[in-house]
Amino acid sequence: MVAHLQQGSEAAFRTLVERYQDRIYRTVLSLLRSPEEAEDVAQEVFVEVYQTIGQFRGEAALSTWLYQVATSRALQHCRKARAKKRFAYFSSLLGFDNGVLHEVRDHAHPLALLEGQEQLQVLQAHIARLPSRQQVAFTLRHEQELTYEEIAAVLRTTLPTVESLLFRARQTLRKHLQPRPGHV
C-alpha cells in the first residue's frame, strides 16, 4: 500500500483513509474532546500524510506513523487553543474585551459521587490537564488500547519510559480523584 501511496494512487489513499479514519478520529477526539475540532484535525492528518508520504521510510508501521502525525497535530491544536484562551483572558483583564472569559471553577467531585457521564467528564477533564506525553500515553493505552510497544513507537521512546509515563499519569489521576474525607 505504501508503494502505491508514494506513487500517488488515489485508490490507495482512499483505502488508507477508510481503513484508519475511525481510529485516527477517536485518538484525536480523546485528546481534544470536541467532535468538530477532532474532525478538522483528523482531516489535516490525512492531508499531511498524503503530502508527506514520500518521506515515509517504513522504519515503523504505517499505523504508528499515522498515530504520530495524529497525536502531534492534536497536541499542536491544543497548544494553539490554550494560547488563544490565555490571550483572550489577558485581553479581558486589560479591558480590551467586554466579555467575561474567566475560567470555569473546577468543582472536582470524586468519581464515586457522580453518575456515568459526569464521571467520564470529570475524568476527561483531569486527563486533559496531564502533561502532554502522559496524556498521549494514557489515551493511547486506555482509550485506544494500544500495547506498550506500540505506544513506545508512537512516542519514539523506550518501553520503561512508557511505563513511567503511564504510572505517573495514573498516580496523578488517582490523587485528584480520590474521595476526600468530609466531601459528601
Binding site: 482512499r14 483513509v17 477508510e18 479514519q21 475511525d22 478520529y25 477517536r26 477526539l29 467532535p35 477532532a38 474532525e39 483528523a42 482531516q43 489535516e44 490525512f46 492531508v47 498524503y50 503530502q51 470524586p110 468519581l111 464515586a112 456515568g116 464521571q119 467520564l120 475524568l123 493505552r141 486506555h142 482509550e143 488500547e145 503511564l166 495514573r170 489521576l173 488517582r174 480523584l177 480520590q178 474521595p179
Partner: protein
Amino acid sequence: MSNSPLLPDSDQDWSDLMRQLQAGPPARPRSGFYTRVQARLVADTAVAPSWWPMWFHRPAYALLLGALLITLSGDGSALRPAQKVGSCESCPDEQPQRELKR
C-alpha cells in the same frame, strides 16, 4: 490499594473503567469523511505557492526589512553624523568657530 472501587490500580482495570464509562457506540467521523479530506486536499493544492518566503508574510518582519532597506539605500543620510553643535547655516554673520589654541 485503592480506597474507591472506581479508582483502579492495575493497567487493565483502568482500561476497563474507561470502556465502562464510555458507554455507547464508539465515536466515528460524520459520513463522507473521505470526500471532505479530498476536497481539502484539492483546496490545499489549488492555492498557488507564494514565492515570498514565509517569514515575509509577517508584517513586523516586512516593516523591519523595509526600514533596513531605507537605511542602507539612497544617500546614506541616515548614517551621516549629526551636525556640529553651535554651527548655523542661516546665520551669515556668524564667525566660523576657531579651535582654541593655547
